[in-house]
Symmetry: C2
Subunit: 224 residues, 2 copies
Amino acid sequence: MGGSLKRSTRFRGHKLGDGLWVIMNDIYTASLSRLIEEFEKLPGIGPKTAERLAFHILKAEPREAMALADAIKDVKNKIKRCEICTGLSEQAVCQICSDPRRDKSLICVVEQPKDVISLEKTGACKWVYHVLGGHIAPLEGIEPGDLTIDKLVERVREGSVKEVIMATNPNMAGDGTALYISSLLRAMGVKITRLARGLPTGSTIEYASGKMLTDAIIGRQELE
Amino acid sequence: MGGSLKRSTRFRGHKLGDGLWVIMNDIYTASLSRLIEEFEKLPGIGPKTAERLAFHILKAEPREAMALADAIKDVKNKIKRCEICTGLSEQAVCQICSDPRRDKSLICVVEQPKDVISLEKTGACKWVYHVLGGHIAPLEGIEPGDLTIDKLVERVREGSVKEVIMATNPNMAGDGTALYISSLLRAMGVKITRLARGLPTGSTIEYASGKMLTDAIIGRQELE
């Protein structure tokens, strides 16, 4: 126990100063040190995991290591924003916006590209999306003009949209953003909905917060 | 809880078959899918972590992402084996073997390059190393000839080595390998030692195994 603690303290040594850096370099070789450092920059990857990953790369088939390196570069070089929904895309228009089976009269508004993926994983969505790029947060300096709200208003103004589903995060910032957008769209005669609030499936009432229970009571649904 | 379980089940869907793969591709864009897949191949990285890392790369500064990709390629292209100790090196002879401050008359024998790093982190070693490349394991088809034992015998035969310190793993395979090597070297008049066995510093006697306690009793040291 004591031994491993001591080792891990020493391990972080290579960040402390030039002198220690040289010592670590001695041990690892320069390129292995650099790879460990780069891995450590990733979220949730500590020094021990970074070292383990670097040694895996060292032992791995060259083909496998090169595939990872190329995949990283491709993500940076190939992915851009869809011209219509501003979601992730490798073409001018993303696969969802260009899919003829999607109902273009329903636009689901989300904050981040990642939210599109979470919703799509349910397999329950036949609509198209609009990615805002965040939420309104004046205290952090994020104004409505920093999001893609203008582009959404434009899409609705074209006239073929029947319903806009707000799927911003169920918290203060997300609700505020949804409210702001709905105030802009309401005058255009489009139906505006938001995702249901209530008890998370699989949870227990015992551990539900007061806010969750209140939402569940207000939005109670008839059993059929 | 149920929601997240369902999502993570679906998430792994892209490995199940071609049909599902297409669905996931739809969601992620091809290069993002590929990066997630490549991250998943790393040890200890599950689908959720792979997705998180891939999104981190997507959002990261291009410079940072390229640095990681290049570091991976460099490790594969630049690192080779030291001509003397067969440890990791970017030159023909590694930094430890070419360091004039090291005592070349002491050779510490380890199984893997990673063991050199663990020992070096203690800061207690002024010796040089010999990396065997594994341990003898006839059942797995690893014979003495598969390791770098010949090279070690040659180093000792040159005559300037006074002591060989066995630092193979303290288990059956490591002990067997150390025993085999010492039987070869003993005739050459070199002193052969192995790392001390005993209680791990920071542990408690309550939780020490019988084997650990036996080692500690046999190897008990005089208090000075």
